[in-house]
Structures are given as C-alpha cells and as structure tokens.
Symmetry: C2
Subunit: 435 residues, 2 copies
C-alpha cells in the first residue's frame, strides 16, 4: 500500500479571520505543496466566515472566500476550523460541522471549558475528530502529549503557566519592583494585555485552560465551574519582594492534581497566584511565555515551554491539527477519543490541599511568635518554618510557611490568627507550589 | 457511533525484558482496566522474547510468557514492542512483525538511525504504524509533537540535550570544578554511565538521536552517517571555567538546522560540545535530564524537558505508543506517515555554519592581538569580541568569539593562527549555540 497523493482536495472551512484566523488562512494559501505532501492530498480553503466582510483583512487573502453565513459554511467542508471564540455562534457552527461529518479544529478554550462534554459527545456520535491543540498554551504542544504520549501513564499533577499576560505582569513586578497597576499598564502599552484585562488578571482565561487540562489528564469531565479561581489582583510589590527574599517567584498557576491514590483519588483543579521555588523549572519562565509542568507516575517530571499566544504561534498549533485531521480523513480512522472513563470526583475548593506562606504584622514583644504558633497547632496546621523580619518601630513582621494543609482548615486558622490580640494584620496568604 | 469496549483483546508481544521491557510488561499487567478503557479493548500480553529465560526477572511477570523465539513471537501479535536494542535480531523481528500486519513500537535509536528507511518503507507497504516516541529523550514527548503538532509549520533548528550521561558529567564539571575523568567516574558510581562510556562520551548515542530528529523535522532521510560527531572527551575543567566566566555553560548538543531558505535550503546535522548562554532555557537543564529546544517558523521557540532514560520513564513513552497504536487498530487508519518529500540536501560537516570561541596562549607583548585579528580578517572570519585575560608570566590568554563562520574556513583559520610566531597554543575551539 504505497502512499500516493490523492488528487481530490480536502475542503477546509475557516470560521473567523482575526489575528489567528488570518495566519491560518495564509498558512494554507502559502504552502500548498508542502501541506499536500504532508497530508497526501491538497487542502482547499473553501470559505472564511467573518462578521464584517467589508472590514480590512490581509490583502493576500482573496475576498471572494469571505461569507457571513457561519453555519452554512460549517456544513460544507471536510475540516472546519473554528477561531471565532465565545460561545455562540461558535457552538452551533461546530455542532453543525460535526453533524455533517466534518472534523473540527478549534482554539476556543471558553467554549471547551463550558460546553466540552456536549461537543465531545457530538464528535463521538459522528465518529469524527475534534482537536484543540491551540486552546491551551498556544504554540506549545500539550494536548497531544497528554492525550497520546501519556496515555499509558498516570498523571499526578499539572502546574501550568498558561496565561502570558499575567506572567508578563508578574515578571515585570519581579524584575522592576513595579506595583500591579503599573505593570498592567506596561503590558497594555506593549500589546500583551487588553484594555479590559479582567479575563487575564482575574484568572478566567487560566481557569478555562485548567478545566481543559484536568479533563484530559484525568479522563474526567471538568468544567470551568469546577475550577477554584483566584486572580493576581491582590498581589503587591511587597509580596513579590518577600517571595524573592525567601527564594521564590510568584506565578499565576493553573493546578490540577490527584489527591489520594493515583487511580482512585479525588482531583483538585484551581487557579491562583503561588510561590514557586526559584530553582523550579517554572520559575525561569519569563515574560509572556507559557509553560506546563506535568508530573506523571512513570514519566516523572516533564515540562513543555513556548509562546502561549500570538497569531503565528497559535496558527502553528491550529495547522498541526488541520494536517493531522486531514491525514486521518485520508487513511481512515480517528484519533484517540476523549476518555471519560475514570471520572474522578472533583474536590470543592475548600478541600484542596496546599502549603501556605502567611505574612503577619504583629506587636513586637516576646511571646507573640509562640502564641501564633500555638494557635496554628491547635487548628492542626503544621508549621514548616517561621522567620521574623527586623521590626520597624513596634511592629514585627512574621513569615510562616506551613506544611500541607486543607484550604478549609487554613482559612479557619487564618481567621483565628487575625483575631489574636497582638496580630495587627494578616498581610498576605499565598500558596507554595512545586516545592 | 458511540464507543463500546470490544471484548476481543489486542495481542501485545514484547521483545526484550530488560530495564525498560520489564516496566512495560508490568505496566500492561498491572493496569488492565485503565488501559482497556483508554484503548477501547483489553490488551493481552501474549509473550516476551528473552535471550535467557532462566535469568532473574521481576517475579510479578509470569514465566510462562517467556520465549526465546523472537521472530516467531513477532509474527503472532497485533502490536509488537521491540526493546532489545542493537541491529540484529531486532531488525529481522520488526520486519517480520510489519509483514504480518502488526503495528510496531520501538525504542531502538541505533536501529532507526541506521536502518530507518528500510523499516519505514516496510511499515508503509504493510499499511501499519511504526512508532518510536521512546527512542529519543526517553519519557519526553518529542517525536509526536514534531511529527504531528508541527506538521503545519517549518522547523528551522533543533538544539537537543539528548544524552543524560554527558549532561550529568558536564553538570558535575560545572558545579564542582571536576575534570572529565573524575566526573565520569562519579557518573559510573551513581549508575548514570556504563563501565564503557564510549557510546555516551563520544557522542554516538546523541548522534543516533540527532539523525532521528533531523529526519522527522525536515522530512528528509538522515542516517547516523550524515551526522558530524564530536564527543566531550576533549572538554577540560578549564574550558568549563572559562565558559562560566563568559556567561555560558558547556552542553553536549545534538544540532539539526536548515541553512538557507526554510523550504529550500540545506540541512546540517551534528553533535558536539557547545557554549550555551547562561540565560538560554537549555542552560538550566541539570543533572541527567534531557531537553529539546525547537525553533519553528510559526511556533517560535519551544522546549520539551524531562527524563531521558531509566526504566519507568522510558516505559511511559513506550506505553503511550502502545495505547495509541492499539486505539488505531480499533478505529482503523494509521498515524501520520514518515513524510520524506522534502529531501533537503544534507551538508557535509565542513560546510556547517556556527559561531566559535577560541582560546589562545600568546606571547604577552604589544601587537599580538592585532596580528591575530588581522589573520582572522584575512580568512574572512569576522570577530565578535576579543577578551584578554590577565597574563601569567610572559603568556597572555586571548579569548576570541567569532561571528558565524563555515567550519571549513574556521578550521583553516585556526591552522594559520596556530602557525603564527607569537601564538604558543590554541588551547580550545568551541562552538557557541543558542545565542
């Protein structure tokens, strides 16, 4: 069965022609011979759905490809590439494409995190592929490695820097000592943050990606509503400086982990700022870069690093999915299904377990440290280290790192600590990850 | 077409039961329910070919599975996993398996680098999959990302730390100031190096992996004979110390790159020690870890990091291939073929282009630096920086970093420099990569 290049082209429909979409269109239009060689048949771009066909687009994209009828276009292709974002009309168009027997490639993390099960069931029912390498961490191949390369292993934990904007902001705060607002302004000026940075800064974007990664790694359906989410808004320049003094950097992490036996435990999925040891591979992820650190039972630690956003990097991941899907149209078969057999229970946020670092302003007099330590012990929170900073006036600064504790007990403990008479302020409570 | 678990098991034959093989056997025997759920059918281990069935093996592996008839076993399975290593009988057994219509999973880098084309043609002819994720960088998913995720992109350069032994040795030299011999002895004592470290220290192992990565990334058949190879035997503690002084670390790199246009250039594939800037992500790869840094046109820089060797990590990669291959047996179709359409010419070693750092001992008198610089200019080798170390006695130490130069011109230049009257010694010549 030697391979020959079939002459019947595979029809590709593109839904959306923004920063990523236009790069995908150019990638298909500019490399017809390479792509045909890799696929085994030519790819034909049969249409591009856009909201405003009269807007300005890259002049290398023929305008006769544009249409406003998204759902109609989605029904007449072999491979439908959805890059519109948002829930509707993306959802309806994808369902239409799957019903018509087309393979679907999407980068729509919000849709996957909210309506993933519905889409995967529709793909299963139609016996076609639904691929989404570009939905998490842009250009970084992370979906395929977790889904296929680790298919014979058990993932224990994922720690991901999956939002480039917040990583840029925290990196600026670290290297230049800026406060959050200033760093966000710099990110906006450089095009790394939106005018309204809520989706990034408050962790919504990272939470979608956490849900997708957890679903995949644990063969369990995790929606964005299962993700405990805390953004970076409360992180101060002082937090960053203290992190450095204790040998850490602050990163916004998407965390997904099994608590208990790897094949019969519960999973915790959350997004929050965390102290990461300076010698952890994630600590070296600078600027707007992304990285996903995976710990698997057999493989041990793995890290995947690269650009998490941007037109060309994201288009690279989309085109990889297009070529793979096209290839499977020709050779028959489909990729690994979304395995959903394990169905780990998802723990509520309060049941998550982590190490914490607390910073307290306390009265600078003997016995206060012992009093605080005693209270933590009473609450079953075990202390790893306590550090007392040189006092300023009559206020001492206590830095307490705990052993692993349930979030609920930690929260109750912090409440009690805050009520202690010599405690003036609980300045910050941050999780420690990767230690 | 809802998925149901077929009751007919898929037969898996294991060729070899060493460090990796026994972990693969245990992985299949210990997780039957998980694997069946991920595949859609049970996997049945039908036999394990070993040379000495009476030797000691893990007691959890039933001895009735053992056979000495490798080729017979290879002919009676749906998936054949080859973990014997070496050329024969691995080659014959793999060809037998492919002929019989079985999918093959192998970690045999030497065989792939030497006889890859023959094996891939046999797999194409039989219409079955030949997978080898574990052949390069152990547990790190790198084959699948390059083959599939980057299938719509153009790879420009790969810089890989793909040999854990030499990375451990160089890391020891860096952190503890050891000479090579001492560091190799430590690696041997800790089980990171063989009693005969030739395959690692002289770069043979890395060269096999470089050939495999280059073949894949550039859709071109590259054999180990195309790889220019230089090991780490000549690297001294002084080289390592000087590297640090100039903001670098020394790593043994597998380099595969396109020189010229990305879709119509020539490729250079080589293994050699190189100076890597201390802030490059590869510089942070410590101990026996591996990492592969990929630069693609669209995706930009990517890095894949993890354990490159060891029974359980390597078995994780093998099992991922087994599950993917098994899944494809059920759903029909095969994976992406080995695309070999591009067929870039492979440059001879002398035509490779790199930046170099030269260290010279010269007479400590005025005009020598100018004389050396003039000679380099005469040979068309452009100087980036020159640094003169404080002299010891009447000898000065010159450290010259060049701009990119062809290896052949550099070699001719170094010969001429060595013949200059005031030059006492060309102490070292090292390439600079990743800058």
């Amino acid at each position: 069965m030697p391979e020959t290049t079939s002459q019947t082209p595979l029809r590709v429909a593109l839904l959306g022609c923004g920063v990523v979409g236009s790069q995908v269109a150019l990638g298909i239009l500019a490399n017809p011979i390479d792509l045909a060689a890799r696929v085994g048949a030519p790819l034909e771009l049969v249409g591009i759905a856009v909201r405003r066909p009269d807007a300005e687009y890259d002049p290398r994209i023929p305008r006769e490809l544009f249409t406003t009828d998204v759902v109609e276009l989605a029904g007449r292709a072999d491979i439908v590439v959805e890059l519109m974002g948002g829930i509707e009309p993306a959802r309806t168009a994808i369902l239409r494409a799957l019903e018509s027997g087309a393979a679907v490639v999407t980068a729509n993390k919000a849709l996957l995190a909210e309506r993933g099960p519905e889409l995967f069931e529709a793909a299963d029912a139609a016996g076609v592929d639904l691929s989404y390498e570009a939905a998490v961490a842009g250009a970084i191949p992370i979906i395929r490695p977790i889904r296929e390369s680790l298919a014979g292993d058990h993932v224990r934990r994922i720690l991901g820097i999956v939002n480039g904007t917040t990583n840029f902001v925290l990196d600026k705060m670290t290297t230049e000592g800026l406060e959050l607002d200033q760093a966000v302004k710099e990110a906006q000026a450089l095009g790394f943050a939106e005018a309204d940075p809520t989706a990034d800064v408050d962790g919504f974007d990272a939470a979608s990606k956490a849900a997708i990664l957890a679903s995949l790694a644990f063969h369990t359906r995790v929606s964005i509503n299962d993700v405990a989410r805390e953004g970076i808004r409360s992180v101060t320049a002082a937090d960053v400086a203290w992190a450095q003094k204790t040998g850490h950097v602050i990163k916004l992490l998407a965390v997904a982990e099994v608590i208990g036996p790897v094949d019969d435990g519960e999973i915790s999925v959350r997004v929050h700022p965390a102290l990461v040891p300076a010698d952890h591979p994630l600590a070296a992820v600078r600027g707007a870069f992304n990285a996903v650190f995976v710990e698997a039972d057999g493989a041990g630690p793995l890290m995947f690093y690269g650009q998490g956003a941007g037109g060309r990097p994201t288009a690279s991941a989309v085109l990889g999915d297009v070529v793979s899907a096209a290839r499977r149209r020709l050779t028959g078969g489909k990729g690994l299904r979304e395995s959903k057999d394990q169905a780990f229970p998802v723990l509520p946020a309060a049941a998550a377990i982590a190490r914490y670092q607390l910073r307290l302003d306390v009265d600078d007099r003997p016995g206060v440290l012992a009093q605080v330590a005693g209270l933590l012990a009473d609450h079953g929170v075990s202390i790893d280290t306590v550090r007392q900073a040189p006092s300023q006036g009559d206020v001492a600064h206590l830095l307490i790192t705990t052993h692993a504790a349930r979030e609920a007990s930690l929260a109750a403990t912090v409440d009690a600590v805050a009520r202690l008479e010599p405690v003036r302020d609980v300045v910050s409570v941050l999780r420690v990850e990767g230690a």
